[in-house]
Amino acid sequence: MSSRKIIYGASLLIAALIILLLPNLLDTGNMTHVILGMIYALAVLGLHYILGLTGQMSLAQAAFWGIGAYTSGILTTRVPGFSPWLGLVAGAFMATMFGLLLGIPTLRLKGHYLAMATIGFGIIVNLMLLNWTEVTGGADGVRALPYFYILDFKLDTLSKYYYLVLAFLLLLAGAAWRLRRTRVGRSLLAIRENELAAETMGINTTLYKVLAFSLGACYAGIAGVLFAHLPNVRYISPDTFSFAQSVTFLAMLVLGGSDSIFGAIFGAIFLNYFPEWLRDLKTGYLAVYGAGVMLIMVFLPVGVVGLIEQLIRSRLLKPRPLAPKPELVAQVGTPASALRDNGAATSDGTILWLKELRKDFGGIRAVDGVSLQVKSGAIHALIGPNGSGKTTALNVISGIYRPSGGDILFLNEAIGGRAAWQLTSLGLARTFQNIRLFPELTVLENVMIGQHVQSQLNFIQALLPLPRSRIVEQKIRAEAVAALEFVGLSDKQHELAKNLAYGQQRRVEIARALAAKPLLLLLDEPAAGMNSRETEDLLELLRQIRERGTTLLLVEHDMNLVMRLSDRVTVLNFGKEIADGEPQQIERDPAVIEAYLGAEVVYA
C-alpha cells in the first residue's frame, strides 16, 4: 500500500467518523442548521438532475418542496393513523406527479420560457397554499405534525433525526452518483451538451427531460416531508415555499458547481450556514450573498466544488485508457445481425429510397422533388453548389426536419415525418457539417452515448446496483472503446471532446455514429476543413466502414474525394436533381459541368 493510499484512506475514515459523531460535537442551534442544510441538499440534488445534468432551467423547486411538505403535513394531521412514513411516500408521490404535470407540457419550451413557466407554476402553488384555507390552513399553516418513529423508537430529538436525514441524503446522493455513470445519466448529459445530437443518437429527449424533471421533483418532495417533520419545529407555513427559496436552491447548486453531487451538498450546507458567519451584518448578509452569487458566476464558472473536482481529475486521478477488445474492434460498424436480416428484405438491395422529396421553408422550396435510390453496401455521394439543398435533404432524411411532401422509404418502410431518435434504432446514424459533439464530456462518454440504441437499461435499473446494470454498462464501455480504436483514437478516451483537434473531433463524431451500429450512415461534409493528408486518412476510414457492411450517403464538396470514393453520385441544383449516375458519367455530364464543376466545354 502506497503512502498516498494510506493518507487517502485515513482521511476518509476521519471524515466518516466526524459525520457519524456530529450530533455529539455540535449544540442544538448548530445542529438545526446542519440538518436544515442537509434537507436543502436533497432538494438541491433534485435540481442537479434538472439543471446540472440535463441543462434545463427550473425555478419551481421550492414549490415541489412545499407540495411534499404539505402533502405529508395535511395527511398526517388529518387522517388518523397516517404515519410520517406514509406521508413520505405520499409527499414524494405528489411532488413527482406535479413534476410530471408541469414537465410534460412545458419541457418543449426552451431556456427562458421554461424558466418563466416554472416561476409561474411556483407562484400559483404558493398562492394556493396561502388561499386554499380549508385544506392548507392558509397563512396559519399546519401545526403539530407527528414525529417519525422507527418501530417504537421515537425520533424526537435533533440528534436522532440527524441520522434519519443522513440516511436519506446518503441514499439519494448515492443514487444520483450511480445514475450519472449509466446510460440514463449520459443521456441526460447529452441533452444538456447538444440536444440535436442527442436526438440523432436515438435519445428520446422529451422523455428524458420529463424523467429528469419528475426525479428532481421527487427529491424535493422527500426533502419537503423531512423538513415538515423536523422534531423541534413540526410546523409549516406558505412563506417558506416561495419563489425566493427556489432562487436560493438555484444559487446553492450553482455555488457548489451544477454538475457536481458533492457541490450540490456543499452549496446547500454552506449557503445555509453562510448567514451565521455574517451575523454581524444583520440584514445586510443577503446583500453580500447576492454579490457573492455574481462574483461566483464571473470567477468560478464551474462552482467551488466543481473547480476542486476538475483539479483532482486533471492532477491526481488521470484514468488510464481502457484496452480495446480485438473481437469487438472487428465488429465495429457491422450492423447487428437482426438488422441485417431486415436489410435483406429489400429484394433489389435498395436501402433508402427518396420519392419526389420536398421541403419548404416559408415560401422557399429548399428541396424540390428529389428522387434517388441508395443501394445497400454502396457509397453514395450527394453533391451540388452551396444552397442546392443537399444538407436540407440530409436533415429531412435523418428526421430533423419534417418533409413537406414526397416519401422516404428506409428498408421499404415509410419513415417521413418520424422523429430523429426513432430513426436511429431503425439503423440510421449521421454526423454534422459543423461537428456536434458533447464538448464537456470525455471522448469515451461521447462514443458511449452513441451506443444508446444498442443497449437497454431503464432508469430503475440504472439507480439500483443490479448485476444486470453492471453487465450492460461494461458492454457499452467495451463497444465504445472498440469504436475509438477503429477510428484510431483509443489513446484519447479520457480527454474532454472539446480539447481535441478538429480532425480528431470529426473522427470522434464518426466513432459515435458507428457505435449505434447503423445500416446507413449519413455524413455531412466529412472532409470540410481537412488538409489533403487528413482527407486521405478519411477516405481510407470510410472505405473500411463500407467494407464492414455499412452503407454510406455523404454530402461532400471535395470532388477529388467524391470521385475516388463513391459508387454513385447524385447532383442537386436549386433543390432539384440534375444528374444521377456513376462518378465517371457525372464528371462528363454537361449539365453538371455547367451548374457545378465549372469546367469549360470545348466543342471540337
Binding site: S388, E594, L597, A599
Partner: protein, 263 residues
C-alpha cells in the same frame, strides 16, 4: 494598399488560419480561391476585424490593423459584405442602405443629404433596388438581396470592398450579372478583394489571385496565369472536356443551352 503577412487565427482549439500572406494593390480586383473550409471567409473576417489574428501583421494604407476594432476598420475605409448577404431582415431595403452610411451619421451634420446622393448612385448601379426601397428585406429574392448587400457596402464609401461569396446560391444568369457589376464597380475606381467558390468566374475578372489551402496561401499569381495553371485547374476548376465526335458535341451544346434556359 492592403498587406497581410503570415496571419494566423484560431477559433478556440481550432487553427483556422495557419499562415496567410497577401497584398492588394489599389484599383485591382484580387480574388482568393480555395476549397470549403480552407479559410477564405476567415481571412476576410480577420481583415474586417471580426476576428483577431493570433500572430502575423495586417496593414492597410501603411497603418497597422491588428488591434483595431471592426467598427473602426469600417471608418478607415474597408467594408466587408459578408457571406450569405446578412441583411437586417426586419428592416426595409432603404433602411438597410441607410445603415450602410452609419459611419458618417455621427460625424457630419448633413450626412442625410449625402446618404441620399449615395443611395441614388446605388440605384443607378442596381436599378431594381429603387422600386424595392420600402420592401422588408426578408421578402427579397436571393439576387435582390445580394444587390442590396453590395449596395449597403458601397454606402459607407469604402476604398476597399471585401466581397464574400457574392454568387452563392444564385441562378447562373444572376451569377453573370453579379460578376459584371463587380467589374463595373471596379472600373469606377473601387479596389475589391473577392472570395469565391466559383473559381473560374472569379479568376476571369480578377487581376491577381491567391489560392488558400487549409489555412495557408499556397499559390499566387496573375489571375490569367492561375487560370492556365494545371494544378489549379485540377483542384478548383474541374476538367476541360474536349469532345471530338461532332454529333455528340452538337447534342451536348444543345443540352447545355437548354439547362441554361431553365436556370
Amino acid at each position: 494598399m492592403l498587406k497581410l503577412h503570415a496571419v494566423a487565427v484560431a477559433y478556440g482549439q481550432v487553427q483556422a488560419l495557419k499562415s496567410v500572406s497577401l497584398q492588394v494593390q489599389a484599383g485591382q480586383i484580387v480574388t482568393i480561391i480555395g476549397a470549403n473550409g480552407a479559410g477564405k471567409s476567415t481571412t476576410l473576417k480577420t481583415i474586417s476585424g471580426l476576428l483577431r489574428a493570433a500572430s502575423g501583421t495586417l496593414e492597410f494604407e501603411g497603418a497597422d490593423l491588428a488591434r483595431v476594432s471592426a467598427e473602426e476598420i469600417v471608418r478607415r475605409g474597408i467594408v466587408h459584405v459578408p457571406e450569405g448577404r446578412r441583411l437586417f431582415p426586419g428592416l426595409s431595403v432603404g433602411d438597410n442602405l441607410m445603415l450602410g452610411a452609419s459611419v458618417r451619421a455621427d460625424k457630419h451634420k448633413n450626412w442625410r443629404a449625402e446618404a441620399k446622393d449615395d443611395m441614388e448612385r446605388v440605384f443607378t448601379i442596381f436599378p431594381p433596388l429603387r422600386k424595392l426601397a420600402h420592401r422588408l428585406c426578408w421578402t427579397l429574392s436571393g439576387g435582390e438581396q445580394q444587390m442590396c448587400a453590395i449596395g449597403r457596402g458601397l454606402m459607407a464609401r469604402p476604398r476597399l470592398l471585401l466581397l464574400d461569396e457574392p454568387s452563392l446560391g444564385l441562378a447562373p444568369v444572376l451569377v453573370q450579372e453579379v460578376f459584371k457589376t463587380i467589374v463595373a464597380i471596379n472600373q469606377q475606381g473601387m479596389t475589391i478583394l473577392l472570395v469565391e467558390q466559383n473559381a473560374r468566374q472569379a479568376l476571369a475578372i480578377a487581376h491577381h489571385a491567391y489560392v488558400l489551402e487549409t489555412g495557408r496561401t499556397v499559390l499566387e499569381g496573375r489571375a490569367q496565369d492561375l487560370l492556365a495553371n494545371e494544378k489549379v485547374k485540377q483542384a478548383y476548376l474541374g476538367s476541360t472536356l474536349k469532345i471530338t465526335d461532332p454529333t455528340l458535341a452538337q447534342e451536348m451544346q444543345i443540352a447545355a443551352q437548354h439547362t441554361e434556359h431553365q436556370g
